[in-house]
Amino acid sequence: MSLMEFLSLVGTLPHMNVLSIGADWLEVIEVPAVVIRRVRIALRLSSVPAECFDRHATVFEALAVRCARYAHFNLPPDILQAFFHKNVTYPFLRFRMLRHLYIWSPVDWQEISDVTVSPCVKGIWIRKDATKDPDIVLYYIHGESAPCRQRAAPSRCLANCRNRGWFCDGLYPLLS
Protein backbone atom coordinates (compact mmCIF):
# COMPACT_ATOMS: atom_id res chain seq x y z
CA MET A 1 0.00 0.00 0.00
CA SER A 2 1.42 3.34 -1.02
CA LEU A 3 1.48 6.38 1.20
CA MET A 4 -1.06 8.10 -1.04
CA GLU A 5 -3.44 5.18 -0.65
CA PHE A 6 -2.94 5.11 3.10
CA LEU A 7 -3.55 8.83 3.42
CA SER A 8 -6.74 8.48 1.48
CA LEU A 9 -7.91 5.92 4.02
CA VAL A 10 -7.77 8.35 6.88
CA GLY A 11 -9.79 10.89 5.01
CA THR A 12 -7.20 13.34 3.75
CA LEU A 13 -8.15 12.43 0.20
CA PRO A 14 -11.80 12.09 -0.73
CA HIS A 15 -11.79 9.17 -3.17
CA MET A 16 -12.10 5.76 -1.50
CA ASN A 17 -12.77 3.67 -4.59
CA VAL A 18 -9.13 3.63 -5.65
CA LEU A 19 -8.49 1.27 -2.76
CA SER A 20 -8.81 -2.24 -4.02
CA ILE A 21 -5.44 -3.52 -2.87
CA GLY A 22 -4.20 -3.87 0.64
CA ALA A 23 -7.49 -4.10 2.54
CA ASP A 24 -6.38 -7.36 4.18
CA TRP A 25 -3.18 -5.71 5.30
CA LEU A 26 -5.17 -2.89 6.83
CA GLU A 27 -6.93 -5.34 9.15
CA VAL A 28 -3.56 -6.15 10.72
CA ILE A 29 -3.10 -2.61 11.96
CA GLU A 30 -6.64 -2.49 13.30
CA VAL A 31 -5.61 -4.17 16.55
CA PRO A 32 -2.92 -1.64 17.55
CA ALA A 33 -5.35 1.06 16.46
CA VAL A 34 -7.83 -0.20 19.06
CA VAL A 35 -5.14 -0.07 21.74
CA ILE A 36 -4.19 3.49 20.77
CA ARG A 37 -7.83 4.49 20.79
CA ARG A 38 -8.32 3.00 24.26
CA VAL A 39 -5.19 4.66 25.65
CA ARG A 40 -6.23 8.02 24.24
CA ILE A 41 -9.60 7.61 25.92
CA ALA A 42 -7.89 6.80 29.23
CA LEU A 43 -5.67 9.87 28.90
CA ARG A 44 -8.71 11.98 28.04
CA LEU A 45 -7.15 12.90 24.70
CA SER A 46 -10.16 11.64 22.81
CA SER A 47 -13.67 13.05 22.83
CA VAL A 48 -15.46 9.70 22.65
CA PRO A 49 -19.17 9.97 23.49
CA ALA A 50 -20.29 8.51 26.80
CA GLU A 51 -22.47 5.92 25.04
CA CYS A 52 -19.45 4.47 23.16
CA PHE A 53 -18.47 0.95 24.25
CA ASP A 54 -14.71 1.61 24.13
CA ARG A 55 -15.00 4.37 26.70
CA HIS A 56 -16.20 1.90 29.32
CA ALA A 57 -14.40 -1.24 28.23
CA THR A 58 -11.00 -2.43 29.36
CA VAL A 59 -8.28 -2.81 26.71
CA PHE A 60 -8.82 -6.58 26.77
CA GLU A 61 -12.59 -6.23 26.30
CA ALA A 62 -12.14 -3.73 23.47
CA LEU A 63 -9.65 -6.01 21.72
CA ALA A 64 -11.75 -9.13 22.17
CA VAL A 65 -14.85 -7.44 20.80
CA ARG A 66 -12.86 -6.12 17.84
CA CYS A 67 -11.56 -9.64 17.14
CA ALA A 68 -15.12 -10.99 17.36
CA ARG A 69 -16.20 -8.32 14.88
CA TYR A 70 -13.40 -9.33 12.53
CA ALA A 71 -14.41 -12.99 12.80
CA HIS A 72 -18.07 -12.27 12.10
CA PHE A 73 -17.20 -10.07 9.16
CA ASN A 74 -14.58 -12.24 7.52
CA LEU A 75 -14.28 -15.87 8.58
CA PRO A 76 -16.17 -18.59 6.72
CA PRO A 77 -18.78 -20.53 8.74
CA ASP A 78 -16.82 -23.77 8.98
CA ILE A 79 -13.77 -21.97 10.34
CA LEU A 80 -15.80 -19.96 12.83
CA GLN A 81 -17.67 -23.04 14.04
CA ALA A 82 -14.35 -24.77 14.69
CA PHE A 83 -13.69 -22.26 17.48
CA PHE A 84 -16.89 -23.35 19.23
CA HIS A 85 -16.48 -27.08 18.70
CA LYS A 86 -16.35 -29.36 21.72
CA ASN A 87 -12.77 -30.38 20.96
CA VAL A 88 -11.71 -26.76 21.30
CA THR A 89 -14.01 -25.40 23.98
CA TYR A 90 -13.83 -28.30 26.43
CA PRO A 91 -10.01 -28.26 26.79
CA PHE A 92 -10.31 -24.50 27.22
CA LEU A 93 -12.82 -25.06 30.02
CA ARG A 94 -10.48 -27.59 31.67
CA PHE A 95 -7.68 -25.05 31.46
CA ARG A 96 -9.82 -22.40 33.12
CA MET A 97 -10.81 -24.88 35.83
CA LEU A 98 -7.22 -25.90 36.51
CA ARG A 99 -6.25 -22.26 36.74
CA HIS A 100 -8.56 -22.11 39.77
CA LEU A 101 -7.36 -25.49 41.08
CA TYR A 102 -10.50 -27.35 40.04
CA ILE A 103 -9.40 -30.81 38.94
CA TRP A 104 -12.93 -32.18 38.82
CA SER A 105 -15.99 -30.28 37.71
CA PRO A 106 -17.68 -28.54 40.66
CA VAL A 107 -21.06 -29.26 39.05
CA ASP A 108 -22.41 -32.59 37.83
CA TRP A 109 -23.08 -32.52 34.13
CA GLN A 110 -23.84 -35.20 31.61
CA GLU A 111 -24.04 -35.38 27.85
CA ILE A 112 -27.12 -37.18 26.59
CA SER A 113 -28.17 -38.45 23.20
CA ASP A 114 -31.69 -39.85 22.77
CA VAL A 115 -31.98 -41.51 19.38
CA THR A 116 -35.34 -43.12 20.15
CA VAL A 117 -37.17 -39.95 19.16
CA SER A 118 -37.17 -38.14 15.84
CA PRO A 119 -35.33 -35.90 15.44
CA CYS A 120 -32.91 -37.22 18.03
CA VAL A 121 -32.21 -35.16 21.12
CA LYS A 122 -28.65 -34.22 22.01
CA GLY A 123 -27.61 -31.95 24.80
CA ILE A 124 -26.16 -31.49 28.24
CA TRP A 125 -27.91 -31.95 31.57
CA ILE A 126 -26.65 -30.11 34.63
CA ARG A 127 -28.38 -31.36 37.78
CA LYS A 128 -27.83 -30.90 41.46
CA ASP A 129 -29.51 -34.14 42.56
CA ALA A 130 -30.62 -36.43 39.75
CA THR A 131 -32.37 -38.81 42.18
CA LYS A 132 -34.98 -36.17 43.05
CA ASP A 133 -37.43 -34.23 40.92
CA PRO A 134 -36.09 -30.79 40.00
CA ASP A 135 -38.06 -27.77 41.20
CA ILE A 136 -37.01 -25.88 38.11
CA VAL A 137 -35.74 -26.98 34.72
CA LEU A 138 -34.06 -24.29 32.67
CA TYR A 139 -34.24 -25.28 29.03
CA TYR A 140 -31.38 -23.39 27.37
CA ILE A 141 -31.24 -22.76 23.63
CA HIS A 142 -27.94 -21.27 22.61
CA GLY A 143 -27.42 -18.91 19.69
CA GLU A 144 -25.76 -19.67 16.41
CA SER A 145 -22.74 -17.88 15.10
CA ALA A 146 -23.48 -15.42 12.33
CA PRO A 147 -20.57 -15.64 9.96
CA CYS A 148 -20.18 -13.79 6.70
CA ARG A 149 -18.55 -15.89 4.05
CA GLN A 150 -18.97 -13.22 1.44
CA ARG A 151 -16.40 -10.61 2.18
CA ALA A 152 -17.42 -7.03 1.69
CA ALA A 153 -15.72 -5.26 -1.18
CA PRO A 154 -12.54 -3.69 0.18
CA SER A 155 -13.53 -0.14 -0.71
CA ARG A 156 -16.93 -0.66 0.95
CA CYS A 157 -15.31 -2.22 4.00
CA LEU A 158 -12.94 0.70 4.34
CA ALA A 159 -15.72 3.20 3.88
CA ASN A 160 -17.64 1.47 6.67
CA CYS A 161 -14.59 1.67 8.93
CA ARG A 162 -14.17 5.33 8.17
CA ASN A 163 -17.85 6.03 8.78
CA ARG A 164 -17.55 4.41 12.18
CA GLY A 165 -14.82 6.80 13.16
CA TRP A 166 -12.12 4.15 13.58
CA PHE A 167 -9.63 5.95 11.40
CA CYS A 168 -10.28 9.42 12.73
CA ASP A 169 -9.88 8.28 16.29
CA GLY A 170 -7.72 5.20 15.99
CA LEU A 171 -5.41 5.28 13.00
CA TYR A 172 -4.93 8.97 12.61
CA PRO A 173 -2.62 9.23 15.66
CA LEU A 174 -0.29 6.80 13.92
CA LEU A 175 0.37 9.41 11.27
CA SER A 176 0.33 12.54 13.35
Binding site: E51, C52, F53, D54, R55, H56, F60, E61, A64, V65, A68, R69, H72, F73, P77, L80, Q81, F83, H85, K86, T89, Y90, L93, S105, V107, W109, I112, V117, S118, P119, C120, V121, K122, G123, I124, W125, I126, R127, K128, D133, P134, D135, I136, V137, L138, Y139, Y140, I141, H142, G143, E144, S145, A146, P147, C148, Q150, A152, N160, R164, G165
Partner: protein
Protein backbone atom coordinates in the same frame (compact mmCIF):
# COMPACT_ATOMS: atom_id res chain seq x y z
CA UNK B 1 -22.68 -19.14 19.47
CA UNK B 2 -21.80 -22.60 18.34
CA UNK B 3 -22.11 -25.49 20.75
CA UNK B 4 -23.34 -26.38 24.21
CA UNK B 5 -19.78 -27.08 25.30
CA UNK B 6 -18.87 -23.49 24.56
CA UNK B 7 -21.67 -22.50 26.95
CA UNK B 8 -20.85 -25.11 29.59
CA UNK B 9 -18.95 -22.84 31.96
CA UNK B 10 -21.64 -20.18 31.72
CA UNK B 11 -24.33 -22.79 32.35
CA UNK B 12 -22.45 -24.02 35.43
CA UNK B 13 -22.45 -20.47 36.79
CA UNK B 14 -26.13 -20.13 35.91
CA UNK B 15 -26.86 -23.40 37.72
CA UNK B 16 -24.99 -22.19 40.78
CA UNK B 17 -26.98 -18.93 40.81
CA UNK B 18 -30.26 -20.83 40.46
CA UNK B 19 -29.21 -22.84 43.51
CA UNK B 20 -29.54 -19.67 45.57
CA UNK B 21 -33.29 -19.65 44.90
CA UNK B 22 -34.21 -23.29 44.27
CA UNK B 23 -33.55 -26.55 46.15
CA UNK B 24 -32.85 -28.75 43.14
CA UNK B 25 -32.32 -26.77 39.94
CA UNK B 26 -31.58 -28.46 36.63
CA UNK B 27 -30.48 -27.14 33.27
CA UNK B 28 -30.88 -28.86 29.95
CA UNK B 29 -28.99 -27.26 27.06
CA UNK B 30 -30.01 -28.53 23.65
CA UNK B 31 -27.37 -29.29 21.02
CA UNK B 32 -29.03 -28.58 17.70
CA UNK B 33 -27.77 -28.75 14.13
CA UNK B 34 -26.14 -25.61 12.85
CA UNK B 35 -26.51 -23.78 9.57
CA UNK B 36 -25.34 -24.00 6.86
CA UNK B 37 -25.00 -27.76 7.46
CA UNK B 38 -28.68 -27.93 8.40
CA UNK B 39 -31.44 -25.55 7.41
CA UNK B 40 -34.86 -24.47 8.62
CA UNK B 41 -37.02 -26.22 9.88
CA UNK B 42 -34.46 -28.73 11.18
CA UNK B 43 -33.43 -26.49 14.09
CA UNK B 44 -36.99 -25.75 15.37
CA UNK B 45 -37.82 -29.46 15.11
CA UNK B 46 -34.81 -30.40 17.24
CA UNK B 47 -35.60 -27.68 19.76
CA UNK B 48 -39.16 -29.02 20.01
CA UNK B 49 -37.89 -32.56 20.62
CA UNK B 50 -35.53 -31.18 23.24
CA UNK B 51 -38.38 -29.41 25.01
CA UNK B 52 -40.37 -32.65 25.20
CA UNK B 53 -37.30 -34.33 26.67
CA UNK B 54 -36.95 -31.57 29.29
CA UNK B 55 -40.67 -31.87 30.04
CA UNK B 56 -40.30 -35.59 30.64
CA UNK B 57 -37.85 -34.81 33.46
CA UNK B 58 -39.68 -31.76 34.80
CA UNK B 59 -43.06 -33.50 34.83
CA UNK B 60 -44.94 -30.34 34.02
CA UNK B 61 -44.40 -27.15 32.08
CA UNK B 62 -45.08 -25.22 35.30
CA UNK B 63 -41.50 -25.68 36.41
CA UNK B 64 -39.87 -25.22 33.03
CA UNK B 65 -38.23 -21.93 32.09
CA UNK B 66 -37.06 -21.57 28.52
CA UNK B 67 -34.03 -19.35 27.94
CA UNK B 68 -32.46 -18.44 24.62
CA UNK B 69 -29.92 -15.99 23.38
CA UNK B 70 -29.72 -14.43 19.93
CA UNK B 71 -30.85 -17.06 17.41
CA UNK B 72 -31.75 -19.21 20.43
CA UNK B 73 -34.30 -16.55 21.40
CA UNK B 74 -35.83 -16.84 17.97
CA UNK B 75 -36.00 -20.63 18.34
CA UNK B 76 -37.53 -20.26 21.81
CA UNK B 77 -40.42 -18.21 20.40
CA UNK B 78 -40.72 -20.66 17.52
CA UNK B 79 -41.09 -23.40 20.13
CA UNK B 80 -44.31 -21.77 21.37
CA UNK B 81 -45.66 -21.74 17.87
CA UNK B 82 -44.72 -25.39 17.38
CA UNK B 83 -46.40 -26.33 20.68
CA UNK B 84 -49.65 -24.81 19.46
CA UNK B 85 -49.39 -26.58 16.14
CA UNK B 86 -48.80 -29.88 17.88
CA UNK B 87 -52.00 -29.47 19.90
CA UNK B 88 -50.25 -29.81 23.23
CA UNK B 89 -51.53 -26.47 24.48
CA UNK B 90 -55.11 -27.69 24.26
CA UNK B 91 -54.44 -29.91 27.28
CA UNK B 92 -55.42 -27.13 29.69
CA UNK B 93 -52.27 -25.30 28.69
CA UNK B 94 -50.26 -27.51 31.01
CA UNK B 95 -47.38 -28.05 28.72
CA UNK B 96 -46.49 -24.46 27.97
CA UNK B 97 -43.38 -23.25 29.77
CA UNK B 98 -43.81 -21.19 32.91
CA UNK B 99 -41.43 -18.45 31.88
CA UNK B 100 -39.25 -17.39 29.00
CA UNK B 101 -36.00 -15.44 29.12
CA UNK B 102 -34.77 -13.95 25.87
CA UNK B 103 -31.32 -12.39 25.67
CA UNK B 104 -30.83 -10.19 22.60
CA UNK B 105 -33.33 -12.29 20.62
CA UNK B 106 -33.15 -12.28 16.85
CA UNK B 107 -36.80 -11.41 16.24
CA UNK B 108 -36.76 -10.84 12.47
CA UNK B 109 -34.39 -12.71 10.21
CA UNK B 110 -34.12 -9.84 7.75
CA UNK B 111 -35.29 -6.37 8.62
CA UNK B 112 -34.63 -2.76 7.75
CA UNK B 113 -34.53 -2.21 11.50
CA UNK B 114 -31.15 -3.95 11.63
CA UNK B 115 -28.88 -0.94 11.68
CA UNK B 116 -25.15 -1.26 12.06
CA UNK B 117 -23.96 0.07 15.38
CA UNK B 118 -20.64 1.73 15.97
CA UNK B 119 -19.84 -0.66 18.78
CA UNK B 120 -21.60 -3.95 18.14
CA UNK B 121 -19.62 -6.84 16.72
CA UNK B 122 -22.49 -7.96 14.49
CA UNK B 123 -23.18 -6.37 11.14
CA UNK B 124 -26.47 -6.37 9.26
CA UNK B 125 -24.67 -7.76 6.20
CA UNK B 126 -23.32 -10.81 8.06
CA UNK B 127 -26.64 -11.32 9.86
CA UNK B 128 -28.66 -11.26 6.65
CA UNK B 129 -26.18 -13.51 4.91
CA UNK B 130 -26.53 -15.99 7.75
CA UNK B 131 -30.34 -15.70 7.52
CA UNK B 132 -30.13 -16.74 3.90
CA UNK B 133 -27.99 -19.72 4.88
CA UNK B 134 -30.40 -20.66 7.67
CA UNK B 135 -33.77 -20.30 6.01
CA UNK B 136 -33.63 -20.07 2.22
CA UNK B 137 -36.70 -20.60 0.10
CA UNK B 138 -36.84 -22.75 -2.99
CA UNK B 139 -34.83 -20.23 -4.95
CA UNK B 140 -32.21 -20.21 -2.23
CA UNK B 141 -32.11 -16.48 -1.75
CA UNK B 142 -35.26 -15.28 0.03
CA UNK B 143 -35.73 -15.83 3.72
CA UNK B 144 -38.99 -17.35 4.86
CA UNK B 145 -41.20 -15.17 7.02
CA UNK B 146 -42.37 -18.20 8.98
CA UNK B 147 -38.93 -18.40 10.59
CA UNK B 148 -39.18 -14.86 12.02
CA UNK B 149 -40.93 -14.60 15.41
CA UNK B 150 -41.91 -10.98 14.82
CA UNK B 151 -43.82 -12.10 11.74
CA UNK B 152 -45.47 -15.23 13.05
CA UNK B 153 -46.51 -13.56 16.31
CA UNK B 154 -50.20 -12.93 15.72
CA UNK B 155 -53.44 -12.67 17.64
CA UNK B 156 -53.74 -15.33 20.30
CA UNK B 157 -50.12 -15.08 21.34
CA UNK B 158 -51.14 -14.27 24.94
CA UNK B 159 -52.77 -17.63 25.52
CA UNK B 160 -49.95 -19.21 23.63
CA UNK B 161 -47.21 -17.60 25.69
CA UNK B 162 -45.52 -18.62 28.93
CA UNK B 163 -47.65 -18.59 32.07
CA UNK B 164 -45.65 -15.88 33.82
CA UNK B 165 -44.62 -13.98 30.72
CA UNK B 166 -41.33 -12.97 29.22
CA UNK B 167 -38.12 -11.40 30.44
CA UNK B 168 -36.21 -9.74 27.63
CA UNK B 169 -32.65 -8.43 27.97
CA UNK B 170 -31.05 -6.35 25.27
CA UNK B 171 -28.46 -3.61 24.87
CA UNK B 172 -29.64 -0.28 23.55
CA UNK B 173 -26.54 0.01 21.40
CA UNK B 174 -26.72 -3.34 19.68
CA UNK B 175 -27.59 -4.04 16.07
CA UNK B 176 -30.86 -5.77 16.92
CA UNK B 177 -32.12 -3.16 19.42
CA UNK B 178 -34.67 -1.38 17.17
CA UNK B 179 -36.11 -4.70 16.03
CA UNK B 180 -36.34 -6.03 19.59
CA UNK B 181 -38.08 -2.83 20.76
CA UNK B 182 -40.66 -3.20 18.01
CA UNK B 183 -41.24 -6.87 18.87
CA UNK B 184 -41.69 -5.99 22.56
CA UNK B 185 -44.36 -3.44 21.62
CA UNK B 186 -46.09 -6.05 19.51
CA UNK B 187 -46.01 -8.62 22.31
CA UNK B 188 -47.49 -6.08 24.73
CA UNK B 189 -50.22 -5.14 22.27
CA UNK B 190 -51.11 -8.80 22.12
CA UNK B 191 -51.51 -8.77 25.90
CA UNK B 192 -48.36 -10.62 26.88
CA UNK B 193 -46.61 -9.82 30.14
CA UNK B 194 -43.16 -8.61 29.12
CA UNK B 195 -40.47 -7.52 31.57
CA UNK B 196 -37.69 -5.63 29.85
CA UNK B 197 -34.10 -5.06 30.92
CA UNK B 198 -32.69 -2.64 28.34
CA UNK B 199 -29.12 -1.67 29.10
CA UNK B 200 -28.11 1.87 28.34
CA UNK B 201 -25.64 2.46 25.58
CA UNK B 202 -22.10 2.17 26.86
CA UNK B 203 -20.02 -0.62 28.27
CA UNK B 204 -22.84 -3.13 28.68
CA UNK B 205 -24.90 -2.69 25.61
CA UNK B 206 -23.51 -5.13 23.07
CA UNK B 207 -25.21 -8.19 21.63
CA UNK B 208 -25.65 -10.99 24.26
CA UNK B 209 -23.49 -9.06 26.70
CA UNK B 210 -24.50 -11.21 29.74
CA UNK B 211 -22.68 -14.08 28.06
CA UNK B 212 -19.83 -12.06 26.56
CA UNK B 213 -19.07 -10.32 29.85
CA UNK B 214 -18.87 -13.69 31.57
CA UNK B 215 -15.80 -14.50 29.49
CA UNK B 216 -14.28 -11.04 29.14
CA UNK B 217 -14.92 -9.09 32.32
CA UNK B 218 -11.99 -8.63 34.65
CA UNK B 219 -13.77 -9.06 37.96
CA UNK B 220 -16.50 -11.34 39.25
CA UNK B 221 -19.07 -8.62 39.85
CA UNK B 222 -18.94 -7.42 36.26
CA UNK B 223 -18.80 -10.99 35.01
CA UNK B 224 -22.09 -12.06 36.54
CA UNK B 225 -23.99 -8.82 37.09
CA UNK B 226 -26.49 -9.27 34.24
CA UNK B 227 -26.88 -13.00 34.82
CA UNK B 228 -27.69 -12.40 38.49
CA UNK B 229 -30.43 -9.99 37.40
CA UNK B 230 -31.81 -12.62 35.03
CA UNK B 231 -31.84 -15.37 37.68
CA UNK B 232 -33.43 -13.04 40.24
CA UNK B 233 -36.12 -12.20 37.68
CA UNK B 234 -36.81 -15.89 37.03
CA UNK B 235 -37.21 -16.49 40.73
CA UNK B 236 -39.29 -13.41 41.47
CA UNK B 237 -41.56 -13.46 38.47
CA UNK B 238 -42.36 -17.14 38.68
CA UNK B 239 -43.01 -16.82 42.44
CA UNK B 240 -40.94 -19.86 43.19
CA UNK B 241 -38.61 -18.25 45.66
CA UNK B 242 -38.08 -20.82 48.40
CA UNK B 243 -35.99 -18.62 50.69
Amino acid sequence: MGSTHFYLEYLMALHSLLGQYYHNPAIFAIEYSLAPGAQYPRQPDEVFSGYLHALSVAGSGDCVCVMGDSAGGSLALGLLSDLRKSGMLSKEFRERPAFMVLVSPWMTLVSENHRNSQDDYLSSESLHHFARLYAPDETGCIVRDVASPSVFMRTGWRSLGPKYGYYIWYGKNELLAPDIREAIQRLRKLGASVHVDAREAGGRSLHVWPLISFFLASDQNRRLEETKSIVAAISTLTSKNVD
